[in-house]
Every structure is written in structure tokens, then in C-alpha cells.
Amino acid sequence: MLKTGVVQVIARGTDVAFVIDENAPFDVVAGELKDYLSKKSGLWSKGDITINVGQRMLARDELAKIKSIIETNSGLKVTRFWFAPESLDSGDLKIEAKPTTDGGPAKPAAHNEVVLPEQAPQTSAKSKSAVESIIESLKSRQNKNGARNRNITEALFIKSTFRSGETLHHQGDVVVLADVNPGAEIRADGDIVVFGSLKGWVHAGASGDNKAVIIALELPSPRFQIGKFLGVAPVTAHRQPKLSASGPQIAYVRSRSIHVAPFAGRFARYNKGVPYDG
């Protein structure tokens, strides 16, 4: 292990991890990282690296900056960012400021791969947590089947009312155990399940997954998105959204438009929904 103050570099066989001090200011981190890499530029000829940012809250452009510093000053390729799981805890709704586990907007899709190679030495295997192994196996199984190309992350639980002005983007499923009020925004790469009244704006399958669904105990939201499709509730003369039924509802994409039907279980076949196309 090599220590350089705020940035720690941990080598594990063919793997390298950069651990960044949670409390150091961003500019200091960026500076140290640059110094370190340019000093040891010969050392890192090629390879993949993981960056562990801990509890730190980084904006997307800051992540992109770190990525570019590393990639320009060395031959390394940043393939993965690691965040402390508790930094995505539901109690804290400042999640909007935190990026999730991808490496900034500029990153090509192929780099979303979880990189913890099988050929890595024992130390690496030992440090692999159970969750990581499960994610990995899911990942490889998915890729084999060529099934839903989703970046698997743990589902995020929100346990308090999601209020106006609060926004969230999560790289997985989102479960809200309360209402989503008007003016709130949730974008999830997976499904969105609301155990309450969904009145805000939500986007399921935000990375382009048209198979994602939105399920809510009540679905008075006049507008929501699944994948690349936009659902607009049909309106009556009184400008009141006409709902297909009361009770739990599911929104899904069929024949290139969003339909809403009473929810009858995850594996029921939904055919007769109300089209939500305005």
C-alpha cells in the first residue's frame, strides 16, 4: 500500500484501487492525485482501476474530473467508482447531490462492467463481499442471456414522504414507502414502486429500459416516463385525470405506448390497460 496523504493507492495483484480521503477538499484531492500520478507515471502503464470515494459527496463533473486526471496522467482506465453503501441511505434525501455507481456522463456503456476479475489473486477474492459476488454473478448471467441490460444496483428504499423539490436518480429499483408529492422527481434505471400515492413526476427505466414498470397504490400522477416513452393521463372535460380504476396500479409499455392497469401481481400478464397518451 502506498500512502500519499489524502489519496491512498492500494494494489491488489493486477488491480489498483484509489481510496480518496472523505474529508479533504476536492481541489486538494485533485492536486495530490495529479502530482502522484505524474511522479510515478512509469508505474501505471495500463490496467483497470477502481476509485473508492467513501462518504464523500461528489458532483458528476467532479467525478468526471477525477476520471480525466487519472486517465490523462497514466495509462489507467477508470472502470468503477465505489461508494459507501450508507451514503445512499434513505433517511437522507440529499441523494441528488451524490452520483451513483457509474463514472460520469462521459463514460461509454461498456465501462459500466463491474470489474473484480476472477483471475485476481486471493487477496482480491477475500476482500470481495457477498453482495459484490451476487452482483457479479447476476451480471455475468445477464450478459450471457443478453437479457435486460441494466446496471444492477441495490434497490433504494425511501421511508418518508418524498416532497416537492426533492429529486433522486438511482441506478436501480426505487421503493418509496410513503407518498410522492407533486413537484418531486424520481429517476430510476429500474422499476419504481410506491406504497402510497404517486403524484409527482417519475421516470422508470431511465437508462432506456422499456421493460421497467411503475407500481403505485394510487396513481394520480398526470405524467410519467418509462424508458423513452412518455405517459400522459387521459383527461376528462373537467381536466381531472381519468383513472382506469382505484387501488394499486401498474404502468408499463405495450406496443410503443404507456398503459396503466390495476395491479394484479408482478407476473400477471397485462394486456387491457388504459393507454396514457393524453
Binding site: 434525501l93 416537492s164 423539490g165 408529492n181 407533486p182 413537484g183
Partner: protein
């Protein structure tokens, strides 16, 4: 003695924050507490007018914070025989003249001497809101039964919770019982289900509130008026007394109630 610092806020302007501050402050003082109300709406001060104290202002909040005067010099005693004091806002300055830390420090000083420190928060969610909420341990949110005010209240609750002010209480102001009965106005249940926080008071629309504000005598002095009674009950609830919320009755009696019974009331609003 350590008092409680409570911020009264709303997000939307004109829903009755200042009126609520003056009345709850007066109500608590009428119950025998030592109360100080702080106007943090720097540049747009109003609390002094509603309390009828605008002629007595010498020093203001910014003077205290900048050290131009002592804290006690800026406190204006109420006209009535209560232990009620006002710290007015500066009119010629802006919200950036003070910082959240400075206000918190001042309120900590006041808490040593008073049972209640009530902070009248400015509208909006900018610097003034941040100043006012930083100093408080509790929050009361004022809203009216209108979608716009409720949307703003929802946003405010979210902001308060993210800054650590949990479990704010709600006052629904300016309820028109007749409109509620007709189904043209949201009732307590509608608002409560949308905002999902505890309601601490329902204040009916009452022209006495406006008359009292114009005279500079908060309506709570007139305990027989509907709004005055409501504010006194809110003050009691803030004080920890367990008084159930009253159903607000329309003024005009039998016929309208009969109409309500036979179902001639529909709903003309949408929550979404």
C-alpha cells in the same frame, strides 16, 4: 431557564406567517409566559405594524447583530401588560446582512431569558429562510387551503427535514367553512393527507383578523372572535396543552347545512 425557539414559516408569501407569529406570541404571553418575537424579514418588516409597535422602534435586529446596540436595547415591550417583546427587522438592509450563525447565537442568548422565542420567517427559500430556520429547534408551518400554498408548504417541510428540523407542525389558516362545506375548498383531512404532518391549528377566515392587524392589536386579544379563539387554542397547544381541533362551522345556519346533508355539494378542486 432555557426557552424554546420556534420558527414560523410557510414558503409562500401572504398566507399569514406574520399574523400567526404576532398572535401565537401574544397568546403565549397571555398564558403568563415570557415571550420574544423576532422579525427576520429584513427589508420588508411587518411584525411591528401588526403588533402596533412601529413608532417605538429605535434599534433593530441588524443593529444587535452588528453590535451597534445591546440586545436589550432592541427589545420593544408590548403595549399590553404582558411579558412580550419584539425585536424588529431592519427596513433599510437586506437578508444578507446577517448569517444563520449570528442569528443562532442571538437566539441562544434570548433562550436564557425567555420561555419562548418566536421567529417570523420571510417568504421564500433563500437566505432569509436559511437564517430564520437555522436558529430554531422547532417549526410551525402556516398554509392556506390552496394548492399553491400547499405545494410550497410541502417543499418547506422537505427543506426543514433535510436541515434537521423534524416534525414540523401545521397551521391551516384562512379556512372558509362555507366553501369547505360546498366542496370548493380543501378541508383539514385533504391537507393533512397531502402534507402528512401534524395539524396544530385551524384558523377560520375572519375579517376581525384584518381589522385587528390594521389597528395594531393582534386578533387573539379578542378571544370571542373565531380567529382570535383559534389562535389562543394554538398557543395553548404550542404550550403543551391537549386541546382537540375544533370543527369549523359555517356561520349561516340551517338551510346551508341541510343542503350539505342532501348531497348538493360536489368537489371542484384537484390535488394533482
Amino acid at each position: 431557564m432555557t426557552g424554546r425557539t420556534i420558527v414560523i414559516t410557510s414558503g409562500k408569501g401572504g398566507v399569514g406567517k406574520t399574523t400567526a407569529t404576532a398572535n401565537i406570541g401574544t397568546g403565549l404571553a397571555m398564558r403568563g409566559h415570557r415571550v420574544v418575537v423576532v422579525d427576520t424579514d429584513i427589508g420588508l418588516r411587518n411584525l411591528d405594524v401588526i403588533m402596533g409597535l412601529e413608532n417605538r422602534i429605535v434599534y433593530d435586529l441588524v443593529n444587535v447583530i452588528e453590535g451597534t446596540c445591546k440586545l436589550s436595547q432592541a427589545m420593544i415591550g408590548d403595549k399590553h401588560d404582558y411579558e412580550l417583546y419584539l425585536i424588529p427587522a431592519a427596513q433599510t438592509r437586506d437578508k444578507n446582512s446577517i448569517t444563520p450563525e449570528q442569528l443562532r447565537e442571538m437566539c441562544a442568548e434570548l433562550e436564557k431569558e425567555f420561555d419562548y422565542v418566536l421567529i417570523d420567517c420571510p417568504a421564500g427559500i433563500e437566505q432569509g429562510f436559511k437564517n430564520a430556520t437555522a436558529a430554531a429547534q422547532e417549526a410551525i408551518i402556516v398554509t392556506t387551503p390552496e394548492v399553491s400554498a400547499i405545494r410550497d408548504a410541502d417543499r418547506i417541510i422537505g427543506l426543514l427535514e433535510s436541515s434537521g428540523l423534524h416534525r414540523p407542525k401545521l397551521i391551516i389558516n384562512r379556512i372558509d367553512p362555507e366553501m369547505v362545506r360546498r366542496g370548493d375548498m380543501m378541508d383539514q383531512k385533504d391537507v393533512e393527507s397531502l402534507l402528512a404532518i401534524e395539524v396544530i391549528g385551524l384558523v377560520p377566515a375572519d375579517e376581525q383578523t384584518i381589522v385587528a392587524a390594521n389597528r395594531g392589536i393582534p386578533v387573539v386579544h379578542n378571544t370571542k372572535s373565531p380567529a382570535g379563539g383559534a389562535f389562543l387554542r394554538i398557543a395553548s397547544r404550542v404550550d403543551g396543552e391537549d386541546i382537540p381541533l375544533m370543527d369549523l362551522e359555517p356561520k349561516n345556519g340551517l338551510f346551508s347545512r341541510f343542503k350539505g346533508m342532501v348531497g348538493m355539494n360536489g368537489r371542484a378542486y384537484s390535488h394533482a
